[in-house]
């Protein structure tokens, strides 16, 4: 069931990316969305490539890999947000969590820490438990999709480490969050067209 959902989600994302529009603005684009762009840029047919040209190609490939790794890191560490006093995974959070799954699947050496946070409303002490529940909800979402539980540590900060401090909904909504941090390993494998099934 999850596999079906994921395949469907991936194909939808790819379709949307190909169409090149109606994509929600993201701070860091998901790697799957970048791969089609490289496909329609075919290597120009010979004249043969000299040494300088080969060097340029390698640089370009390195640059592309670096860019994809950065994008994958952006997906993996993208913050997700919650409704007031809730730990349910919202649709928006689901999209972001789905983008983390392939990064974790392809980079098995990576371990992450999920830190749950709350807004400033509510009891300071109860919010520690609520932050824990939010971190646990994201972890459960990822482990349900095949990620080894031993690779994910969860912690709570309650309302003790706010992202912003004004007392209004726009700030509260930014504080009700899970932050994702890579604790062990580096992103080495990046998504390529062949890895999109």
């Amino acid at each position: 069931m999850h596999r079906v959902t994921r395949a469907l989600a991936l194909s939808v994302v790819a379709t949307v990316a190909l169409a090149g529009c109606r994509r929600k603005p993201e701070p860091a684009p998901a790697p799957v969305q970048t791969t089609p762009v490289s496909n329609p840029a075919p290597t120009p047919p010979p004249p043969a490539c000299d040494a300088a040209c080969e060097e340029a190609k390698r640089r370009a490939a390195d640059e592309e890999r670096r860019r994809l790794a950065e994008a994958a890191r952006g997906s993996l560490t993208a913050t997700i947000y919650f409704d007031y006093d809730r730990s349910d995974i919202t649709d928006d959070a689901r999209t972001k969590l789905d983008a983390k799954v392939p990064v974790l699947t392809q980079n098995t050496g990576i371990r992450i820490r999920i830190a749950g946070h709350t807004d400033s409303r509510g009891s300071d002490e109860y919010n520690l438990a609520l932050g824990q529940r939010r971190a646990a909800a994201a972890k459960r979402y990822l482990t349900d999709r095949g990620i080894d539980a031993g690779r994910i540590e969860i912690v709570s900060f309650g309302e003790e480490r706010p992202a912003c401090t004004s007392e209004d909904e726009s700030c509260w909504s930014r504080n009700r969050r899970d932050e994702f941090e890579i604790t062990v390993g580096e992103i080495t494998a990046v998504q390529t067209s062949s890895s999109v099934r």
Partner: protein, 438 residues
């Protein structure tokens, strides 16, 4: 598992097969009161005579301030202007003059080599009702000296009203909104004093004998580990309860067991462990993925109240101390938008204070009666949180934004009268100590 359970049973927390009344029996008055007669419900008028000696003014104002803070005595101030320095008995006695001021009792303080000689006069009977010599510790105006004077105030309040005062107590709290430190402050606001070196302190809670404070520390790796500070040495020791979230520790009334919140992926629940050795931990609540936190013991140690989100929103529950028979204490109606948290059980066992918030509003403090579950509002102004009972089961310390920044306040739950205890902002999570000196 059986061994673990029986070890705990044999240890500190003994669970009775049946629950008794939560309230401890009211102890018989330990001292003979001075036999004042005054109308029930009114406060006896007490005049503290001017105190001779170098520290006389200081002594007098501390006694007057303690009586005033206790809310059981009407302090009568009258100085000079030809008014007699002390009452005289006999045919030409002047007790009548004091009676005209509304004084039911007169406190006469005479410094001695080791402390104070105190006589309390019964004005209506025109005679000295009781005398005693009290020691004073430390240098004048030192922390120890003031504490021994507070203990005298509390004893005099017992003589005069039949109820011991709460001046010889301190309040533990967290100073600093982020990376806060543990402090204690005298009940009259004197001597705010840091305890230990930890930063990121939350949820301090007193040992029943006032010798230790348990608290949690939130670090760069999240919440929290539990520590126990020894007040005599101002050093603290981490409780061995494993990794994960460990917060809101409270001592059982026997002082040997700590109940705390432990959080994992499966939710946060209450657990118990031994306070002073590396004993086993034992689960109390079974929240099945919900939040269960901020425990508070009934004074007889047989019951716990705590916050639980098991119905979707935080509410106050009570259960037996081993976690059995959990029961919703605060009323819950379907669709209810209330949020109730942070219970604190009164030392006489009759009330539980808690905080509640409605959507778009601010936290307010309430009490709920264990007898008939009637709820009484304590506050309405500003955001009011983290109530903790004084030993008299009448006053509470809490944090409030009513004067701007978050400060600590004391409220008299009977009259609603309140006073501000702290002046530096960014303080929270107060806990009132048991009596610290007699």
């Amino acid at each position: 598992m059986l061994r673990l359970a029986s070890a705990l049973l044999a240890g500190a927390m003994i669970i009775a097969p049946h629950a008794r009344a939560y309230a401890q029996a009211t102890p018989p008055p330990e001292a003979v009161v001075i036999g004042l007669t005054y109308d029930p419900g009114t406060k006896p008028g007490v005049l503290v005579l001017r105190v001779p000696g170098a520290n006389g003014d200081s002594i007098r104002s501390i006694l007057q301030n303690d009586f005033d803070n206790g809310d059981r005595i009407n302090v009568i101030a009258k100085d000079g202007g030809g008014f007699p320095d002390s009452p005289t008995a006999g045919r030409n006695g002047n007790y009548q003059l004091y009676a005209q001021l509304g004084a039911h009792a007169i406190v006469q303080v005479t410094p001695t080599a080791t402390g104070l000689h105190i006589a309390v006069h019964n004005v209506a009977q025109a005679k000295v009702a009781r005398v005693r010599d009290f020691p004073l510790d430390g240098a004048p105006d030192s922390r120890e000296w003031r504490m021994s004077l507070h203990a005298i105030s509390d004893e005099l309040e017992l003589w005069i009203t039949g109820v011991r005062g709460i001046a010889a107590t301190r309040i533990a709290f967290v100073q600093g909104a982020r990376n806060g430190r543990l402090y204690v402050i005298d009940s009259d606001g004197a001597f705010p004093t840091p305890v230990g070196n930890e930063s990121g302190v939350m949820s301090p809670s007193w040992h029943p004998k006032g010798t230790h404070i348990a608290f949690s520390v939130i670090g760069s790796r999240g919440c929290c580990q539990i520590y126990v500070a020894d007040l005599a040495s101002s050093t603290s020791r981490q409780l061995a309860v494993g990794t994960g979230l460990n917060s809101t520790p409270v001592f059982a009334p026997d002082g040997a067991v700590i109940v705390y919140t432990h959080g994992e992926e499966s939710g946060t629940d209450l657990f118990a462990t031994t306070a002073f050795d590396r004993g086993p931990t034992r689960r109390i609540t079974v929240g099945r993925g919900t939040d269960n936190t901020t425990p508070t013991f009934s004074p007889d140690g047989r019951k716990l109240a705590f916050t639980s989100g098991r119905l979707g929103r935080p509410e106050i529950y009570i259960s037996d101390a081993d976690g059995t028979n959990p029961e919703l204490l605060t009323s819950y109606n379907f669709g209810d938008q209330n949020y109730r948290a942070n219970p604190d059980w009164s030392p006489d066992g009759r009330l539980i204070a808690f905080q509640s918030i409605l959507p778009g509003a601010q936290f307010q403090l309430n009490t709920i009666s264990l007898r008939d579950r009637s709820v009484k509002a304590l506050t309405s102004d500003g955001s009011n949180e983290d109530a903790s009972w004084a030993p008299d089961s009448r006053h509470l310390i809490f944090s409030s934004t009513r004067t701007g920044t978050k400060q600590l306040f004391v409220i008299d739950s009977e009259s609603g009268r309140w006073r501000q205890l702290t002046r530096n902002g960014g303080v929270r999570l107060p806990a009132w100590s048991p009596p610290l000196k007699r």
